[in-house]
Amino acid sequence: MQLAINIAVLAAIYALIACGYVLIYRVSRVLNLAHGELMMLSAYLLLTTASLFSKNPLIAIAAAIFLSLCVGVLVYLFLMRRMTGEMVLAAVLTTVALGVLLRGLVVLVWSAQQQNPAQALGWVNYSIPVFGGRISAAGAALIITTALVYAGLFLFLRFSRYGIRMRAAGQNPLLAAQRGISLHAIYALAWGLSTLTGALAGILISLDSGLDSTMVLIGLKAFPAALVGGLDSLVGALIGSLIIAAAEVLMIYYVDALLSDVVPFLVLILMLVVRPWGLFGTREELDRV
C-alpha cells in the first residue's frame, strides 16, 4: 500500500509540474525549459511573503501564488513576446537563458542556504495514516491540489471563453488571430497559468521537504513525464507522470535506487523512438513542399 501512496505522491508532483510545460507548449509551441527555475522562484517568493505575513500562512501562500502568476505574465510580456515569430529553437534557448538568470538571481537574493518555508509559516507536516500506509500532509495536499488543478484546467479549456480561445490559438494561431483573438493576451495568460501551477508545485514540495537550488532538477525530471504523455495533451501529462513515477519508484524498490535518476530518461528515449509525439499528443504533419 505504501508503494501505491509513494507512487501517487511522486506522480502528483510530476503531474503538477508537467501541466506547466503542457500549457505553454500547447498554446505557443514553445518548450519552457525555465519551468523548474520559475517553480523554484515561487517557492522562494513564499519565503518572503511568509516573513511579511508571518501571522497568516494562508495569506502568505496566496500572495506567493499571485506573485508567481505576475512573474509568469511579466516573463511573457518582457521576454518571450519578443521571441514570437522567431525560430522555435531560439525561443526555447531563451527560456534556457532565463533559467540560468533566475538561478543566479535567486541565490543573490535568498542565498544558497537550505531554507524551510514550512518553518517560516509555522506549518507542521503531520503524517496521516491512510489505507494501511502513511502520507504526509504536504503529500496529501499535493495529490488534492493536482486533482483540483487538472479538473480546473479541463473545465477552463473546455467551457470558459478564454480557455476556448487558448485552444484555438494553439491549433491555428493565424486563424485565431483573424478571428479577433489577441494572441499576445492568450500567450501571456498561458505563461501566467503555467507559472501558477508551477508555483503550486514548488510551494508544496518546499513545504514537504525544504528548499534549495536543487529544486530546478526536480523540474527537469518532470519533463520526461510531459513528453511521454505528449507535450500538447493534459491527459497525457497526467498519464505520463503516473508512468514515470511508477517506473521510478518501482526501480527504487526492486532494482537499484541509483537507476531511478536515469530511468525517466530511458523511458523517454524509448517513447521518442516508438512514438515521438507521445501517448496522447498530436502527430506532426507531413512536410509540405
Binding site: N6, A112, D208, V249
Partner: protein
C-alpha cells in the same frame, strides 16, 4: 580576434595581480562559495575571513598582514583547478586552502604537488592522504574523517542500543558518501549489528519517502546516515512521516545546531567533532562577537570550521617566520600544535607523518523536548589516529 581578447584579459588579470601587496603572507583559498553546495562551505569560509581580518587588525603575524585571497569554484572541479593554478602561479601563495566538495580535491592536489605549495583541506571531508603516513603537502583541519566517523557512530550506537541493532543506512549517490556507508555496513557486522537496508539516494530526489519506506519495511530500529545534510535530514523526515519511531544517527554538519532545534526530534542523534555553540564556551562568544562586528550574513554557529582553520593558519605562519615561503610553511605545518580552546575535544596536533591529528574526539548531541534545548548525550570520546 583571439589574440586581441587574450591581450585584453592579460591586461585585466595583470592588474589584479599587481593589486596584491608584496609585504604580506599570501594565502589563497578555492571554495564552494556559491552554487548548490555553498550552504555547507560558504559560512565556514566567512568564519575564516573574519578570523584573518581579526588577526590583521591586531597587527598580523610576525608583524606582517595575512593576505587571504578567496576564489569561488561553485564546487566545479574545472573551476577549482583554474583557481588553484592562478593562486599558485600568479598570486604566489605560500599556502593553499580548499573548502569545497570532494570532487575538487584531485585538481587542487595536482596544482599543489606541481608547485610544491602546502594544501589544507579546511571545510570538507579529509582525504586519505592526510592520515599516517601522510603526504608531505596535504593537511586537514576539518572535523570529518572518513572511517573514523563511522567508527565513532557505531561505537555510540552499540553503547546506547538496548536491544539487538538492525541498522538502516542512507547515503547520497556521490562517491564519497557511498564509500563511507559501504564501510559502515561492513563495520557494523563486526560489531554484532545487522545491516538491514542500505539506500543510495540520488541528490535531486523530489520525494524521499520511497527510500524511507524501504528502510522502515526492512525492520530497522536504528538508521545511520553519513551524507550531505540534505540527505541525512530528509531521510529522517521521510522515515518519521511513515511513522517510524526508531533512533536515527547522523553526522553533525554545520547545519546541525539550527536543524536540531527545528526538527525537535528526541531520537535524532548527531555525532560530530566540533562543540556546538549552545555549550556557550568563551571561544563561542568570541566568534559570535566577531561575526556580528563583521556583519556576516551567515549563522555564526556554522563558522567553527573556518575559525579552526584560521587558528591553524595563524600558528603555522607564526612558526614559518618572515619572509615565509612554501617550504617554511610546510615545515611549520608538519610540526604544529594548536590549542583549539574547546572547539574540539582536544588540541590539534600535526606531526611529520600525521597531517590529520593524533587524536580525534567525538561528541553526541540531541534535542531534549523536556528541556526545550539541545543536550549532550555523550561527551568527548577520543579515538587514536594511526
Amino acid at each position: 580576434m583571439l589574440k586581441r581578447s587574450l591581450i585584453v584579459t592579460a591586461a585585466l588579470v595583470g592588474l589584479t595581480g599587481a593589486a596584491t601587496a608584496q609585504d604580506s603572507y599570501n594565502i589563497g583559498l578555492t571554495g564552494a562559495l556559491t552554487g548548490p553546495a555553498a550552504g555547507t562551505y560558504a559560512p565556514a569560509v566567512d568564519g575564516l575571513r573574519i578570523y584573518i581580518d581579526k588577526v590583521n587588525a591586531a597587527g598580523g603575524v610576525n608583524g606582517k598582514k595575512i593576505n587571504l585571497i578567496l576564489l569561488d569554484d561553485s564546487a566545479q572541479p574545472a573551476r577549482a583547478a583554474a583557481n588553484a593554478t592562478r593562486l599558485v602561479t600568479d598570486d604566489k601563495v605560500v599556502l593553499l586552502l580548499n573548502a569545497s566538495l570532494s570532487s575538487t580535491y584531485a585538481p587542487v592536489v595536482g596544482e599543489s604537488q606541481k608547485a610544491n605549495v602546502p594544501l589544507i583541506f579546511a571545510s570538507s571531508v579529509c582525504p586519505k592522504d592526510v592520515y599516517p603516513p601522510a603526504n608531505a603537502l596535504q593537511f586537514c583541519t576539518t572535523a570529518f574523517a572518513a572511517n573514523y566517523d563511522s567508527r565513532a557512530v557505531l561505537d555510540f550506537v552499540k553503547a546506547t542500543a538496548k536491544e539487538p541493532v538492525k541498522l538502516g543506512l542512507s547515503a547520497m549517490a556521490i562517491p564519497i558518501s557511498r564509500g563511507e556507508i559501504d564501510y559502515a555496513e561492513e563495520l557494523s557486522k563486526t560489531l554484532g549489528m545487522t545491516p538491514v537496508s542500505k539506500q543510495i539516494i540520488p541528490p535531486p530526489t523530489p520525494d524521499y519517502t520511497p527510500f524511507a519506506t524501504l528502510i522502515k519495511d526492512a525492520g530497522a530500529n536504528w538508521t545511520y546516515s553519513w551524507a550531505p545534510w540534505v540527505t541525512q535530514v530528509r531521510t529522517l523526515e521521510g522515515l518519521r512521516r511513515l511513522g517510524w519511531t526508531g533512533d536515527y544517527v547522523a553526522w553533525a554538519h554545520l547545519e546541525a545546531e539550527n536543524e536540531l532545534a527545528r526538527l525537535k526530534d528526541g531520537k535524532f542523534f548527531v555525532v560530530g567533532a566540533n562543540s556546538l555553540f549552545q555549550d556557550d564556551l568563551p571561544i563561542h562568544n568570541e566568534i559570535a562577537a566577531a561575526a556580528k562586528a563583521a556583519k556576516s550574513q551567515y549563522p555564526v554557529n556554522q563558522m567553527t570550521e573556518g575559525w579552526i582553520a584560521g587558528m591553524v593558519i595563524e600558528a603555522a605562519l607564526k612558526g614559518a617566520g618572515w619572509p615565509a615561503n612554501a617550504e617554511k610553511v610546510t615545515a611549520s605545518l608538519s610540526n604544529l600544535k594548536v590549542d583549539l580552546k574547546g572547539l574540539r575535544g582536544g588540541e590539534l596536533q600535526w606531526t611529520k607523518d600525521n597531517h590529520f591529528r593524533t587524536k580525534q574526539y567525538y561528541r553526541v548531541y540531541r534535542w531534549d523536548e523536556a528541556k526545550g534545548a539541545i543536550v549532550r548525550v555523550r561527551d568527548w570520546a577520543p579515538f587514536d589516529v594511526k
